[in-house]
């Protein structure tokens, strides 16, 4: 049963979050919403944009790695008996690797869009253009990262089935490859949306 992640990750983190929200701010209020809003408002857009870049590359590579081990273990096992499948089925591995490359490209593009602006001197908050830019780079990174994560998992599982089916019957390879191509298009969707989202960032008026 999946009791272990629930007991050791979700429950403690929920308890920690709830304790945090209740304990900060004005002691007179149970949950000090205005304090929390100010906390959010004062978070630097550079935090968000850096986190977005990290997610873009990190999650993409997680997805690619997931896919590569899923395909690779089946491929190695199947190739012992049927060595001819190795050369053709490397395409599945290459599709998974492409997912990692998408993540790196998007991360590089996103980080070139980060510019310096100063916060306002009175309250220490950034103006709306800077906040917009920070959020959109974060959003682009999350979009690209999660899209590539599931794309990598998908291509990996289909690639594993493709290797095993090819070992039994070599006419199946091309047909299952079509399924993989559709799967790898999912990563591209994430990249495209990410690039569009971060296309209009400007850090000052």
């Amino acid at each position: 049963m999946a009791l272990s992640p629930v007991a050791f990750i979700w429950v403690p983190s929920t308890i920690a979050w709830v304790c945090f929200i209740i304990s900060v701010g004005d002691p007179a209020r149970f949950i000090d919403w205005s304090w929390l809003w100010l906390l959010f408002r004062a978070t630097s857009p550079y935090f968000w944009s850096a986190f977005g870049v990290a997610l873009a590359v990190g999650m993409s590579i997680l997805g690619a790695a997931w896919g590569i081990f899923a395909t690779g273990s089946s491929l190695v096992g199947g190739a012992i008996r049927v060595p001819r499948i190795t050369s053709k089925n490397l395409i599945s591995i290459i599709f998974c690797e492409a997912v990692a490359i998408y993540g790196v490209i998007v991360a590089i593009i996103l980080q070139t869009k980060i510019d310096y602006t100063a916060p306002s001197p009175e309250l220490g908050v950034y103006d709306k253009y800077a906040m917009y830019s920070g959020f959109s780079i974060f959003g682009a990174g999350v979009t690209c990262g999660f899209a590539n994560l599931v794309c990598g998992m998908c291509v990996g599982i289909v690639g594993s089935s493709c290797a095993l089916s090819d070992a039994q019957n070599s006419t199946l390879f091309v047909k299952i490859l079509v399924v993989e191509i559709f799967g790898s298009a999912l990563g591209l969707f994430g990249v495209i949306v990410g690039i569009i989202m971060s296309g209009s960032v400007k850090w000052t008026a």
């Binding site: 049963m1 999946a2 997931w66 081990f69 899923a70 273990s73 089946s74 491929l75 190695v76 096992g77 199947g78 012992i80 008996r81 049927v82 998992m153 599982i157 594993s160 089935s161 290797a163 095993l164 070992a167 039994q168």
Partner: protein
């Protein structure tokens, strides 16, 4: 979570699943069986088998070939494959594969005990045991004279120990009690195996659940058929049926009350899955039943390979290889005794 095991299955077991699917690709096809059926003597059979997966094991056999030699070499191939996979298996798969072999252990125990009862030589009995079900202290089974000693001396150290502890008696072992012991052990084993597969969850629980349900229903059917006309009471018979399967619990009540083949047939036909088997039997016929049950088992084992990312292919591969070895034995016997007209009666085709 059911359906999500495909994300992590390949971490531990992807390599071995690919290996077992490779072995499945090497099972004998209809063309191979046709070639074997047209052989004139055992040398021809050996020649034909050399071009299949069995080649490496049969190639160096010396000239006076016997049926038992061929069967032994073919079983050695299964054992070698199984041993390789078992050595490379991680903990859960390893435990699953061990469960698959406990059935052979039970058969070996019963073989040695029965053989000792008939005063056969222990060494000769050990040679006849199935290699997948051997354990270290198996030779000392010959020393025990009743079931309590059997348990205390030998079986308590084996994996069969938890299956045994319910029915310890001081009775001497005779044919009837040994059969009852075999079926009691088997019942406990199947219940335990089913519980283990359920705890694994996901596709393994579902597909193995189906295969084990068929196995247990088939054993219930065979127990009922074999105990018609013996002194086994209805309650005793009911105690030998497992606690799961399509026949549990209402079918078991009916089977326990059945006294002849037609009543058994009526009880089994109430389950739609088995009605189709009994439809192929003519009215009053019971000889073909064995072959039909084997065919059904083979069909289910082949179908279990259709889904990926579960442990059932290992169990199914073992069953399919064993059926294949039974086929080869039948063909070899028919060829050796010059009864080629009856060859087609005994073969169960895999594909």
């Amino acid at each position: 979570m059911y359906g999500f095991e495909m994300l992590n299955f390949n971490i531990k077991d992807g390599y071995l699943e690919a290996i077992v699917r490779g072995h499945r690709a090497g099972l004998l096809t209809v063309a191979d069986y046709n070639n074997l059926c047209q052989c004139e003597n055992l040398e021809d059979i050996k020649l034909n088998l050399t071009s299949t997966d069995y080649g490496a094991h049969l190639a160096n056999e010396a000239s006076p070939l016997f049926t038992t030699t061929i069967v032994e070499r073919c079983t050695a191939k299964l054992v070698e494959d199984w041993h390789y996979m078992r050595c490379n298996a991680e903990e859960e798969l390893g435990k699953f594969m061990d469960y698959c072999t406990y059935a052979h252990m039970i058969d070996n125990v019963v073989l040695i005990v029965t053989g000792t009862l008939h005063e056969r030589d222990v060494q000769e009995l050990l040679d006849k045991c199935h290699p997948l079900g051997m354990f270290d202290s198996i030779a000392t089974l010959a020393v025990a004279s009743n079931m309590r000693e059997l348990y205390r001396l030998v079986l308590v150290d084996t994996p069969l120990a938890p299956y045994f502890s319910e029915h310890l008696t001081h009775e001497d072992m005779d044919e009837m009690n040994i059969e009852i012991m075999r079926n009691t052990l088997y019942k406990a084993y199947l219940d335990d195996f089913q519980g283990f597969c359920r705890s694994l969850g996901g596709a393994t629980a579902e597909v193995m659940g189906d295969l084990l349900a068929f196995e247990t229903d088939r054993r219930a059917l065979n127990i009922t058929l074999n105990s018609i006309g013996t002194e086994l009471t209805r309650d005793d018979r009911k105690k030998l049926y497992s606690n799961f399967g399509l026949l549990y619990p209402h079918g078991h009540n009916e089977l326990a009350a059945a006294e002849d083949f037609d009543q058994i047939r009526a009880a089994m036909e109430k389950v739609p899955a088995y009605a189709s088997i009994f439809n192929k039997l003519g009215f009053g016929e019971s000889q073909m039943l064995d072959k039909l049950l084997y065919e059904e088992e083979v069909k289910r084992c082949v179908v279990s390979f259709e889904q990926q990312f579960h442990y059932t292919p290992f169990y199914a591969y073992m069953k399919l290889r064993e059926q294949e070895i039974r086929n080869i034995m039948w063909i070899s016997e028919c060829v050796a005794q010059n009864q080629k007209a009856r060859i087609q009666d005994g073969i169960v085709f895999t594909f």
